[in-house]
């Protein structure tokens, strides 16, 4: 048995396979070099974040002395307490709440709109369907810089300045997401819907019972993308919000950084930064698999 398999192997493949197996077991100098580069780089990447966290626990007195410690000489929660107390002038917690509401609603509505439209453009038959979708895709490639000013005017006309809707609704027009869902649906056999149709199932029934469960993975990806996209959106919120209590955290941080200067505010500024970082980090920890998968889906289909 073993004699037949080894003799069946191509002659060139067996020596090289043997070499690579050896390499995997023995730690070579080049592997050590790779580890060294990666470890150093990861330290550089992560240290600023740790420094931000540690700074947020330093007291004002420690800054005043000018002594530099990477970690606080004494860990204090003063900066976070100050954010709680001065919520009238720096409503960081309101910003976080606003960002959370905007991001969750954005992600949820994106999934709904995209799933419905994806179904419409890939499973329902109507004249000019593919042409219509192609035209939408083409229009969506138009550079967004040109749209910002008119979009503001439209949002203002709708009375959405300082409203969550200003940050939620425009993003729902995203065409790339429908493109992803549409491509994903191509992998679901059409026979399934047709069989259901013969059994008398309505379009909506087919959508709900067959398509929706099948496209769950791509919908999770779109949920995460929309959530982090909305959470990190920066330019647009600074345009459509001027009420300090209603803005999301990115716009808030910008105000804060221009107002909080000098040593007495450093810790508080870093505390706000930490709070703004936490939600997406938590999301990443719980859904890491989907985040990494999502990039491959988007690049794989477009590229």
């Amino acid at each position: 048995m073993s004699a037949t398999t080894s003799s069946a192997r191509p002659q060139v493949a067996s020596p090289t396979a043997g070499v690579s197996e050896n390499k995997a077991r023995v730690v070579t100098p080049s592997l050590i070099a790779v580890y060294a580069i990666l470890v150093v780089l990861c330290i550089v990447w992560i240290v600023p974040v740790i420094y931000t966290i540690s700074t947020s626990f330093k007291s004002v007195q420690e800054f005043m002395t000018g002594a530099f410690n990477f970690f606080p000489a004494k860990w204090v929660g003063d900066n976070y307490m100050r954010l709680l107390e001065s919520s009238a002038s720096y409503p960081v917690f309101s910003w976080l709440k606003n960002s959370l509401i905007i991001s969750i609603i954005s992600a949820f509505l994106s999934v709904c709109v995209v799933a419905l439209a994806g179904f419409g453009y890939s499973r329902l038959e109507f004249k000019g369907r593919d042409t219509l979708f192609f035209v939408l895709l083409l229009i969506s490639m138009f550079p967004t810089v040109v749209n910002i000013i008119p979009q503001y005017r439209i949002v203002a006309t709708l009375g959405w300045v300082n409203s969550y809707w200003a940050c939620i609704i425009p993003g729902l027009g995203n065409v790339a997401n429908i493109f992803l869902v549409r491509n994903f649906m191509k992998g679901i056999p059409k026979e399934l819907d047709e069989a259901a149709k013969i059994d008398g199932a309505s379009d909506f029934r087919i959508f709900r019972s067959i398509i929706l469960p099948a496209i769950r993975p791509i919908l999770i990806v779109i949920f995460l993308f929309s959530f982090t996209g909305a959470w990190n959106d920066f330019l647009w919120p600074t345009i459509v919000f001027n009420d300090i209590n209603k803005m999301p955290v990115t716009a808030g941080l910008q105000l804060l950084s221009s107002q909080m200067q000098g040593y007495s505010n450093m810790g508080t500024l870093m505390a706000s930064t930490c709070l703004a970082i936490i939600p997406t980090l938590l999301l990443f920890l719980f859904a890491q698999k989907y985040f990494l998968q999502s990039l491959n889906i988007t690049s794989g289909l477009k590229g």
Binding site: C42, S140, N147, L172, T280
Partner: protein, 311 residues
Amino acid sequence: MGIINESVTADHVAGKRKTLDERLHPFMHAFPYIAPHLIIFAVFGIIPIVFGLYISFTRWNLIGSPKWAGLDNFRLIMTPGTYFNKVFFKDLWNTLLFVVINVPLCIVVPLLLAVLLNKKGLKGAGLFQAILYIPGLISVAAGALVWKMVFNSQYGMINTTFHLQVNWLGEQPWAWITIFVLSLWAGIGGNLVIYRSALSGVDQNLYEAAQVDGAGPVRIFFSITLPEIRLPLFYTTIMTTVGAFNVWGQPLMMTNGGPAQSTQVLLMDIKNLAFPAGPSAAGMASAMALLLGIILMILSIIQIVFMNKED
């Protein structure tokens, strides 16, 4: 497909003659599904394009009705010596500088890292990748505050650790360097993940054959790896370039355009002109946005042409 559909819709329609209603039926059937997106896209995707093109040729303060000005805005931008000419070309130059340095960094660094992470026998590649990826999930606003603290001239980690007195954020070339550091820190994660999966898709036999032929690692990288992953490489290059032309948050937060407006980029002035504290010059801002948009459109066209050729 059409046959199946008609046999279903036939149940609903009594008459045999094809009425307008009958012909529209499939569309009306699909309409509830595509309508939510279509309406939002029309309002926030199509109307703004038409409106945006129009106001580039007007004088407009964002409130009243735009006054037609023909090519005046563009003429002012192109006439040497005018205020708008100075602003536009200074910003364009700074934006280009950012693009020219940031894009290669955000392509080459993740590519090399992907090659390292895919090395045989390496353990913990997932953890390394996660650490390098995480900053990409932090908003520019928060990420900038992190690095502003690190580079702070008085209390910052770098100056205090190495006993330096460098005015990182207020002097060139340091101000640009801080912006590039922030952009690289936040910008490599996405491309890294894409390159890694592209590399793992390359046929291993190609590498083995090359090794048998005696090719070194550098030769293998340029003759096999690069050509094999050219599509994702091209896709990420275009995406990164478009993103870099739209740079705004990093210089705004780190240097606020300074020192002496040397890091002032196009989007900053477009926004400041359109949404200032005082009267708005939305027409002029739109004209500048359109000029930037043309550059971006050319990039998109190159992308579409190239991708179609490859298919």
